[in-house]
């Protein structure tokens, strides 16, 4: 049997309004896509148990409201996060300025992979994934990397626990994409 000790990883998803944070979370946890998600108000989370290198890990994935105005309250929900996933919409350049990326299934792409990757490298080699929450492309891989990197860092946490890991995810509008950075 694998190690009996359960690990809880708190992962927060950040990004501009409408980039697909809720969609990504639901695709990863529930394997579902709906185009009827409402704008998130306040915060919510879903949990999912995954095996990472023979360890049972409970991922607690937090989804928060995107509009900047609500970020001041968001802080309460971010406390103790092990990793953060930054999502932007590849079709809306502004959401990249604001952060992460999703929606690669859409054709009207406006942020190049190269540009986003360059950004991630410049921030200390943050893992970067292009995803589609609609088509379930790369979502599993992105969150698996989230779990893996966060778990690997767990041993160093005593030293650096002030700064959660980052993972960048991109999403396509209507179809999400992720970039993932740890």
């Amino acid at each position: 049997m694998a190690s009996r000790k359960k690990v809880l990883l708190k992962v927060i998803i950040l990004g501009d309004s409408g980039v697909g944070k809720t969609s990504l979370m639901n695709q990863y946890v529930n394997k579902k896509f709906s185009n009827q998600y409402k704008a998130t108000i306040g915060a919510d989370f879903l949990t999912k148990e995954v095996m990472v290198d023979d360890r049972l890990v409970t991922m607690q994935i937090w989804d928060t409201a995107g509009q900047e105005r609500f970020q001041s309250l968001g802080v309460a929900f971010y406390r103790g996060a092990d990793c953060c996933v930054l999502v932007f919409d590849v079709t809306v350049p502004n959401t990249f300025k604001q952060l992460d990326r999703n929606k690669i299934d859409l054709e009207n792409r406006a942020v190049t992979a190269k540009r986003a990757q360059g950004w991630c490298q410049s921030k200390g080699d943050i893992p970067y994934f292009e995803t589609s929450a609609k088509e379930a492309i790369n979502v599993e891989q992105a969150f698996q990397t989230v779990a893996k990197n966060a778990l690997a860092q767990e041993t160093e946490v005593e030293l650096y626990n002030e700064f959660p890991d980052q993972i960048k995810i991109t999403n396509d509008s209507g179809k999400p994409k992720e970039g993932c950075g740890c």
């Binding site: 704008a39 919510d44 989370f45 995107g66 309460a76 809306v92």
Partner: protein, 683 residues
């Protein structure tokens, strides 16, 4: 071992009621399904699956209840199932439930004397599933089956609540009594008391009244408390507790601040068309505004009347207005609306390029409009023209109140108003009136939200110190889990008809302007034992509260909230800061804050925004003064040369769904004798 799943238990005729407040006649409100306990290779699971629908009937138009009045609406009915519209089957399937029983934290079983038993399962992370209603029995059998696998203990405080005990190899063998799920006894408090040495010894040292026992004798009392924890409890200033030395020398007498008991209250029936017309005199003036508001507070408004009554409640029409002044007022409102709409409509692409703020708002509104109440028939389907109306009203609101702009949550507030008004201009002004009431919620620094969450905290310190200290000690004293409730006035927690009922009750400002805060207390009071006995922490509390969507009984909650209000009103030693929240007259003798006598705390912090549609905002609820509403229309008069003809909608390409103002559905006014049969509780 088993590589295949094995069904250990199954029961059909188990229903999910989509909305607890729905009527039995609503056939879509009850989804039939089957419940299973299944042994799978990866563990034992409890599952509920919606019954497959064998035939899809062609009655699409029956799928959603049509809300509001009988006036027909000009939007296109859905034709077939576009990719946007989930089929009925998909809609049902989304309620399917499946979880590992090792994740189960507790369940509630309610078995009324008449009617169906239901079971609510709550997981360790706070996830709370919709109630499963066993229409042909079987809930007891199922739970007894579970009792074979899990160690389950009935809550001593709430006999409907059963807590799954963590598997603990060191646990002493439990007496069989604890497994007796369906006995009537609520658990043997004395036995538990004796088992807990710390509590017991404390009780021996001093005279401790019920309150301390309440605090210490929580259901976890069987696990000996840590010394530090007990010390914490004692050293803390336990809210609501007074210590006096006078009665018996040598002893401290500890007593709980007694609140008067909660009086029982009853709700009434909605305002009828007949009552409404009787409330107006021959000029169309409302005769007794107070009485009318009392009726609306007690029972709401008949849905068909909302289109008229809401215009008063939301300050579109002055309460003192007559037929004649309303006609004039409406004309001005129409002109003013289209003047403002034209302002953003006429911005060219070139201009927009250099107008980042407008661009951003436009983008944000677009994103939210496409995801606002799309499951409601009024906004459902692809290319629904009502979405354009929603968009245009929100854009125009940005011009009306550029300082505030568009903030997420506003589209939620607008949607029920638009569904009732069925008219762009009327919906706009009613929405603007609604925003006057709640604009503090959307401030940049979230000050208004923080203030209200703090007010809930203060109120609960007084009404329920036990729950309050529980929440404080579980990182939830900030009440952030109430954020969504407050921001959009419970819009996401109730069905459309219920939220409309709730809002019209709140808009009467009865029994006080902060009644929505007391509604929060009432809901939390109902959930108290679930939160405490499951030992929920910050995350689980949030999850449980978020999952209560559609599961809150509106009328029961309103009754309880009013009852709490009356309890506070009768309370003798109510601190001044609570009196201010509740709009009571503040006693002049103490407290620096008492200077603010006539200004309830909900007075808008946005004085510059108070322009037109302010319903009785600055007077306490108990003093019915109704300042005339005089919109500042000087600007519109000066700009009248550019205003569009109010009878054409400059936005519209083809098929704007909501009627433009030429369809003036003026109010029929029948004058008659005054309605006297009003439950005039507050006068």
């Amino acid at each position: 071992m088993a590589t295949q799943s094995q069904v250990l238990f199954e029961k059909d005729s188990v229903f999910i009621h989509v909305n607890v407040n729905s009527h039995h006649s609503d056939k879509d409100a009850h989804i039939p399904g089957k419940v299973f306990i299944i042994q799978k290779p990866e563990g034992t699971f409890i599952e509920w699956k919606a019954e497959e629908i064998l035939q899809v009937d062609g009655q699409n138009e029956q799928e959603w209840a049509v809300i509001g009045s009988s006036l027909s609406v000009g939007y296109k009915p859905d034709t077939g199932s576009g990719s946007d519209v989930p089929t009925k089957e998909e809609a049902r399937r989304k309620y399917n439930i499946s979880f590992d029983i090792l994740d189960l934290k507790s369940f509630k079983r309610n078995a009324p004397n008449h009617g169906w038993a239901y079971v609510i399962f709550i997981l360790k992370d706070g996830t709370t599933y919709p109630a499963l209603h066993f229409h042909s029995g079987g809930s007891k059998a199922m739970l007894q089956f579970l009792g074979k696998t899990l160690h389950i203990q009935r809550s001593p405080k709430d006999n409907r609540l059963f807590i799954v005990q963590e598997h603990d190899p060191d646990m002493l063998s439990k007496s069989f009594d604890e497994l007796n799920l369906f006995a009537d006894s609520q658990g043997d408090l004395v036995t538990k008391f004796i088992k807990d040495p710390y509590t017991t010894s404390l009780a021996g040292f001093s005279k401790v009244t019920n309150f301390l026992k309440d605090v210490l004798l929580q259901p976890d009392a069987q696990i000996p408390r840590q010394r530090e924890e007990v010390a914490d409890i004692l050293s803390e200033d336990i809210p609501g507790m007074e210590i006096s030395n006078q009665d018996e020398p040598g002893y401290e007498l500890i007593t709980k601040t007694k609140l008067p008991s909660r009086p029982s209250v009853s709700r009434g029936t909605p305002l009828t068309g007949e009552q409404w017309s009787k409330h107006m005199d021959s000029d169309g003036k409302i005769k007794d505004i107070d009485k009318l508001k009392d009726v609306i507070f007690r029972g709401g408004v008949d849905p068909a009347l909302r289109i008229d009554v809401w215009k008063f409640l939301l300050g579109y029409y002055n309460w003192q207005s007559t037929y004649k002044t309303r006609t004039d007022e409406r004309k001005r409102r129409v002109d003013d609306y289209f003047r403002m709409k034209l302002q953003w409509k006429t911005i060219t692409a070139e201009q927009e390029k250099r107008f980042a703020m407008l661009r951003e708002r436009k983008c944000l509104i677009e994103k939210d409009v496409t995801r606002t109440d799309r499951t409601h028939k009024f906004f459902g389907g692809e290319c629904n023209p009502n979405l354009q109306v929603l968009n245009d009203i929100l854009m125009t609101y940005c011009m009306y109140n550029f300082d505030l702009g568009y903030v997420q949550g506003m589209s939620d507030l607008l949607s029920p108003v638009l569904v009732v008004m069925e008219n762009e201009v009327d919906a706009f002004w009613c929405f603007a009136g609604l925003m006057e009431r709640v604009c503090n919620n959307f401030e940049m620094d979230q000050g208004g939200m923080k203030h209200q969450l703090a007010q809930i905290h203060k109120l609960m310190q007084h009404t329920d110190p036990e729950l309050c200290s529980y929440l404080e000690s579980h990182d939830s004293g900030n009440f952030y889990f109430c954020f969504r409730w407050i921001l959009i006035l419970f819009k996401r927690e109730f069905s459309f008809p219920d939220v409309q009922r709730l809002w019209e009750v709140l808009w009467t400002d009865r029994p006080c302007q902060n009644f929505h805060l007391i509604i929060c207390l009432a809901i939390l009071d109902t959930e108290k034992s679930t939160l405490i006995e499951n030992k929920f922490g910050f995350t689980e509390i949030l999850k449980h509260i978020n999952d209560m969507t559609g599961a809150i009984h509106l009328e029961e909650t309103l009754k309880k909230a009013e009852s709490i209000f009356l309890q506070l009103k009768e309370s003798k030693k109510l601190p001044n800061h609570l009196k201010e929240i509740l709009g009571f007259e503040v006693s002049p003798d103490n407290s620096a804050s008492s200077s603010n006598k006539t200004t309830p705390s909900s007075t808008p912090v946005f004085p510059e925004v108070v322009q037109s549609a302010s319903p009785v905002k600055t007077t306490p609820a108990s003093t019915p003064v109704f300042p005339p509403i005089v919109p500042k229309l000087e600007l519109s008069a000066r700009l009248s040369s550019i205003q569009t003809n109010g009878h054409s909608n400059p936005s519209s390409g083809s098929g704007t769904a909501v009627s433009t103002p030429n369809n003036d559905s003026s109010i029929e006014i029948l004058s008659d004798t005054c309605d006297t049969a009003v439950n005039n509780f507050y006068n």
